[in-house]
């Protein structure tokens, strides 16, 4: 039976809670309601209110409390109801959690789960893809799975990791992607990209929901004889530069694709690294496809114009192929 992305995360949480009595969850409406996206559904029944803690509407206190609990040896997994509200707990994340190991050798092994992304007509405050704020903050690991398999394996790794991990779950994937998962306990390493699809002529470097857009385009172009390699970064920090560079050195052409806004997005970082470290291999400029520099609009025709999609990617692919 194929497992959906949302079930995969839930199973990952469940298994880790069964394995380690120090793991507990906190967040808004995660108990009896099972969370706004039902990720934690059923966990209250299984683990009780001591380990599934409904909090007041206080993102800063949620993050702060997770830090404090992690100092005491617990393994908190905090949910932001939407990634958009992570900005309400921002200071705790970037200044407290991110820096405590470096400053005074106090690790804060916590996980911050953040349902992100557009395509659900959520408008400017329920669609954000704001990972770039955190990839620019040393001390945070930023993880964004694209598949059910990775979602489960990475949430488990995140919980076991001894550093703070921001775990972005793409809302549009929760119930849309599914697959058969390996039996039993498995993890997917943080900091390792995956070659989602191999190819020879061009690399598309991407992550989260956009992996599926890239795969769609790769399949289409295959028929036209263009072999595209799709790199799913899975983790942005620490970045698996090796896998990216190996791919680009092979294909000599690269497009970086993400759903976040273009300017200042992580795509700039990737493009810059490719250019700096594989300059001699490049047979064309590194292109970027990302959302334009506006808030995420609500109305369907606007949101469609906003989000990167296969059609927009195809244009870039064709242009670069012809370069």
């Amino acid at each position: 039976m194929p497992t959906t992305y949302v079930e995969a995360i839930r199973e990952g949480l469940r298994e880790e809670m069964e394995r380690d009595p120090n793991v507990f969850l906190l967040g808004e409406d995660i108990g009896i309601y099972g969370g706004a996206f039902k990720v934690t559904q059923g966990l209250l029944d299984q683990f009780g209110g001591r380990r599934i803690v409904d909090t007041p509407i206080s993102e800063s206190a949620i993050v702060g409390a997770a830090i404090g609990a992690s100092f005491m040896g617990l393994r908190p997994v905090a949910e932001m109801q939407f990634a958009d509200f992570i900005s309400c707990g921002f200071d705790q994340i970037v200044n407290f959690a991110a820096k405590c190991r470096y400053r005074w050798n106090a690790p804060a092994p916590l996980v911050l789960r953040a349902p992100c992304g557009g395509g659900i007509h959520g408008g400017p405050y329920h669609s954000q893809q704001n990972e770039a704020w955190f990839t620019h903050t040393p001390g945070l690991k930023v993880v964004l799975p694209a598949t059910a398999r990775d979602a489960k394996g990475l949430i488990k790794s995140a919980i076991r990791d001894n550093d703070p991990v921001i775990f972005y779950e793409h809302k549009a994937l929760y119930r849309r992607v599914k697959e058969d998962l390996p039996e039993g306990d498995y993890t997917v390493p943080i900091g390792k990209a995956s070659v989602h699809r191999e190819g020879r002529h061009m690399s598309i470097v991407t992550y989260s929901a956009m992996v599926h857009v890239a795969a769609e385009v790769a399949a289409l172009m295959e028929r036209e004889g263009l072999s595209i390699e799709v790199i799913d970064l899975r983790t942005l920090t620490p970045l698996d530069e090796e896998t990216i560079l190996a791919s680009v050195r092979k294909t000599s052409k690269a497009i970086v694709l993400h759903e976040a806004n273009l300017t200042g997005g992580f795509g700039g970082e990737i493009a810059a690294r490719i250019t700096e470290k594989a300059f001699e291999y490049l047979d064309g400029p590194v292109l970027r496809l990302a959302a334009p520099d506006t808030p995420v609009p609500f109305s369907p025709p606007l949101e469609e114009a906003y989000l990167p999609n296969a059609q927009k990617l195809l244009e870039k692919v064709r242009w670069l192929a012809a370069y």
């Binding site: 408008g123 405050y125 520099d293 506006t294 609500f298 369907p300 606007l302 114009a305 906003y306």
Partner: protein, 349 residues
């Protein structure tokens, strides 16, 4: 920048008196009750259509939040606010928009993501505002409006005006740091700010006692050195009276004033939430306190209106809404070519 030209409200409900069957001059209290009935009915009916029809028909997308059973709060406050006062609605205060003269057409267009909505499709549902009408759009982050309202109130004082700001929020929103910072700043600055809490006893699925360890939101006021009172949130006239006291306090330079309206959320948190976690008895209990039925009874008991006149109000509301929905459904979506406009000011060149 030229400051938004004010287009202050011509209250549509004022027309009610003219329409009224009885030619006799009504007492001010009766007039208030009538206007309250009209706006509460308008809000109830508009939201019922939104939540129970248009949303289920897939004509409205995204999150849909309604204020069923809580209409007395925006309506009571809206009646007390002067046109120059600045309103910061929260997500269960739809009536305020109508009371500021924003049309049903614009509101339905907004909910349907059409170009004619107040945000031209850029944001959804109750995330709308119009500076010309002195009504400020909420953002999603609960209580984020409170510091902004504090700043608006500081500006009114700076400008030497005796207008006040009304800011609305739920019980759950009071847990947020912004709520605390905004009230504290306004209190220190003695800014003219009326704070209206819709205490509907739930925040999404979270009941009050998991949100706060004090009995009343009003218990927080002494920590800011400001007065507070608890009002019957299901009686628009009680809310109105409290707002009159609060606004008088604020207008006289005494700073903020907190009103906690006790009420109940007669729905799930949003249109997709069946609210299984709420004990059924609570819905039954509070159904009997419906603010619309209540004001109707008052109108009848006091002899201010006949049953027929009341029915006429509801009928007018339904008519207006039918018309507006039809108009909105036929209005165009925004053009994708506008996507990039208005992130920054467009410079004339």
């Amino acid at each position: 920048m030229t400051v938004a030209k004010l287009e202050l409200s011509t209250d549509p409900a004022l027309k009610l008196d003219a329409d009224s069957s009885s030619g006799a001059k009504l007492s001010p209290r009766a007039e208030l009750a009538r206007r309250a009935l009209y706006y509460m009915s308008l809000m109830r009916e508009a939201e019922d259509r939104i939540e129970r029809k248009l949303y289920r028909q897939g004509k409205i997308l995204g999150g849909v939040y309604v204020g069923r059973g809580q209409e007395a709060i925006p309506v009571g406050a809206g009646l007390a606010a002067r046109p120059e006062d600045v309103l910061f609605p929260s997500h269960r205060d739809l009536a305020l928009y109508f009371m500021r003269g924003i049309s049903l057409r614009e509101v339905f267009a907004q909910y349907m993501g059409r170009a004619a909505g107040l945000t031209r499709g850029r944001d959804g549902n109750m995330h709308m505002g119009d500076l010309r009408k002195r009504i400020v759009a909420i953002i999603s982050a609960m209580a984020a409006s409170v510091p902004v309202a504090a700043g608006a109130a500081m500006a009114l004082k700076y400008q030497g005006k005796d207008d006040v700001v009304f800011v609305f929020f739920g019980d759950g929103a009071t847990s947020r740091g912004d709520w605390h910072e905004g009230i504290n700043l306004a209190a220190v600055q003695k800014a003219p700010l009326v704070l209206l809490c819709n205490n509907n006893q739930y925040a999404y699925s979270t009941p009050l006692d998991k949100q706060m360890a004090c009995a009343n939101v009003a218990d927080r006021a002494p920590g800011y050195g400001i007065p507070a009172e608890i009002a019957d949130g299901n009686d628009p006239l009680a809310v109105y009276d409290a707002c009159e006291r609060a606004a008088a306090h604020a207008r006289s330079g005494n700073g903020p004033y907190l009103i906690e309206c006790k009420t109940f959320r007669m729905t799930g948190h949003s249109a997709h939430d069946p609210a299984d976690y709420v004990p059924k008895e609570l819905f039954e209990l509070w159904e009997q306190r419906c603010p619309i039925r209540r004001v109707e009874r008052r109108l009848l008991d006091e002899g201010w209106d006949s049953p027929a006149a009341i029915e006429a109000v509801h009928a007018r509301v339904r008519r207006e809404i039918d018309e507006a929905i039809e108009w909105a459904e036929n209005s165009p979506y925004p053009d994708p070519s506008e996507l990039l406009d208005g992130v920054f000011e467009r410079k004339e060149s």
